[in-house]
């Protein structure tokens, strides 16, 4: 032996040997002894049967992933959290890093720089590639999506006839919809034969042209379990199907290729049933709502008609002859009031004018009167004196006439001894012919009256004058 090596020297030799031999390597194994102390570093071992590789993933290396560490593809949907936070015991992972020797423990270990869940990574790589290819072909174009029928009556369901998927679907649809026929197209939903059988069922459903919608459902499972739905053949058959396709594939993460190709992707079989049919009580509620609306509408209609009737009644009353009479009477009253008012005003005006005229007149009249009075006085003075002269002359004439009148007094002759004969009526008898024998007569004398009856009428012969009464001359025969 050339030399005795110290522990440090051995360790150093080993370190160099290991690090030179394995500058960078990929290792796949199952995680075990996982430990996450508060330092933030992650310690674990990779195990394969009876072999173990200690690993340390320092905090500084635990970066969120912006690209797939295995393929170098950039994640289109943004960075993903590092596996360091999600890693679990029992998980198969692929780690990238370098081997080194940890002298303090006398161990070799792997300094991890990248880690990726093994299955997922590879599946995912394949998945993304296919997705990108089909997307480029336009298989997922939104404008190719057909609307789902509402409340379908004929539904084709492609699924395993014995499974949670169909059970959930039937259970959920039980309280929904208006009664549909559901035809189950039985297929295996995993394994090698699943994709061609699903394609066949899709084609059959399309050929049957019976269903309004095709529902492709599968209960939840791991990525591997659901791999049939990432099959290109299935995706293409879905797109080819002449009937709208609704998928309900229970995923743990993300969608399947078939979901992207489908017209609508529900999250689960139950969700698919929910999307197809409304709950029955929603319909019942709708019917109730319409019935209430119906009742309200009729009530409003009746109310409206009643109001219109009342309105028409009022309008009619307004147009009635009685009402028209009343209106005209009112107008008449009004006119009369106006007329009276006008008349009173007019009268007042006239009275005022009369008064003012009277005032003016009375002033003028008095002057006039005074003037006339003085004129009359002046004119009366000569008249008065003339009057007095005339009166004296008349008085003299009057006494003369009186004297003459006294001489003509019919009773004068009587007083001188003549008599006056009258008939029974008191009429003066001027002629003998005025009486006849037997008629009464009276004779008026100066001192009394003599009554008697005519015994004889003796007219005087022609030319003979009656004998004059004593003492009288014949000068005054009348």
């Amino acid at each position: 032996m050339d030399a005795i090596l110290s522990v440090r020297q051995v360790t150093e030799h080993l370190r160099q040997a290991v690090e030179n031999r394995f500058p960078y390597l990929w290792v796949q194994g199952e995680v075990t002894n996982l430990s996450r102390p508060s330092s933030g570093h992650v310690y674990f071992s990779l195990k394969e049967n009876d072999c173990l590789l200690n690993c340390v993933w320092f905090r500084g290396q635990q970066k969120d992933e912006h690209f797939d560490p295995l393929t170098g593809e950039v994640w289109e949907d943004g960075p993903r959290p590092s596996l360091a936070s999600r890693m679990e015991n029992g998980q198969t992972v692929i780690c990238a890093g370098r081997l080194t020797v940890y002298g303090a423990r006398g161990q070799y270990q792997m300094i991890v720089e990248l880690a990726q869940a093994a299955g997922l990574g590879l599946w995912h790589q394949e998945f993304e590639a296919l997705k990108r290819r089909l997307a480029a072909e336009g298989l997922f174009d939104p404008e190719k999506k057909r609307p789902l029928p509402r409340e379908p009556r004929r539904v084709a369901v492609i699924t395993a006839p014995t499974g949670a998927a169909i059970r959930d679907f039937i259970r959920i649809s039980g309280g929904r919809g208006l009664g549909a026929e559901i035809r189950i197209y039985p297929v295996p939903v995993q394994g090698e034969e699943a994709p061609p059988r699903i394609v066949e069922a899709l084609e059959r459903a399309g050929r049957d042209a019976w269903a309004e919608v095709v529902v492709l459902i599968r209960g939840g499972g791991s990525v591997q379990d659901l791999w049939a739905f990432n099959d290109e053949r299935v995706a293409r058959a879905v797109r080819r199907c002449p009937v709208p396709v609704l998928t309900g594939i229970g995923h743990e993460i993300d969608h399947s290729i078939t979901d992207f190709a489908a017209d609508y992707a529900a999250a689960t079989p139950s969700h698919a049933a929910q999307l197809l049919w409304q709950e029955r009580h929603v319909f019942a509620q709708h019917v109730d709502g319409l019935e209430t609306a119906l009742q309200n509408a009729l009530a409003r209609r009746l109310n409206d008609l009643a109001m219109r009737l009342a309105h028409a009644g009022r309008a009619l009353a307004l147009l009635s002859p009685l009402e028209r009479l009343r209106l005209q009477e009112e107008r008449l009253h009004h006119a009369v009031r106006r007329m009276n008012t006008a008349l009173e005003a007019s009268l007042a005006e006239k009275a005022r004018r009369t008064e003012s005229l009277a005032l003016r007149l009375s002033g003028a009249g008095e002057t006039c009167l005074q003037r006339a009075e003085s004129a009359a006085e002046r004119a009366a003075a000569p008249l008065l004196s003339l009057g007095r002269t005339l009166t004296m002359a008349q008085e003299r004439e009057l006494s003369r006439l009186e004297t003459r009148l006294q001489s003509l007094d019919p009773f004068e002759p009587i007083r001188r001894g003549y008599a006056m004969a009258c008939d029974e009526e008191g009429n003066l008898l001027r002629s003998a012919s005025q009486t006849a024998p037997g008629r009464a007569f009276s004779v008026l004398m100066a001192d009394g009256r003599i009554r008697g009856t005519v015994t004889e009428v003796e007219p005087l012969p022609e030319g003979e004058t009656p004998p004059l009464p004593p003492g009288r001359s014949a000068r005054n025969p009348s």
């Binding site: 009664g179 559901i182 319409l290 019935e291």
Partner: protein, 76 residues
């Protein structure tokens, strides 16, 4: 069956039309009452149809379809 029974949707649509017609409020009284009666009948029929609504679940076979047995659901 003498005359095809209207579907639930047809009845519902008719009911909706009737409600709209009544709400627009121009129909004569007699017509309004007739519409109302028709609407009530549709509502009752709709409820009955809902009451009776059941899905008919069938399984496709090589030759045609057969009634889908519920017991299948308990397997797996």
């Amino acid at each position: 069956m003498k005359k095809k029974e209207p579907t639930f949707e047809e009845r519902l649509a008719r009911l909706q039309t009737i409600v709209s017609a009544l709400e627009s409020g121009n129909s004569p009284l007699e017509e309004s009452v007739a519409l109302y009666k028709e609407g009530l009948a549709h509502a009752a029929a709709c409820r009955e149809q809902l009451e009776k609504a059941r899905h008919d679940i069938r399984l496709c076979t090589e030759t045609g379809t057969e009634r889908f047995e519920e017991k299948n659901l308990d397997e797996e």
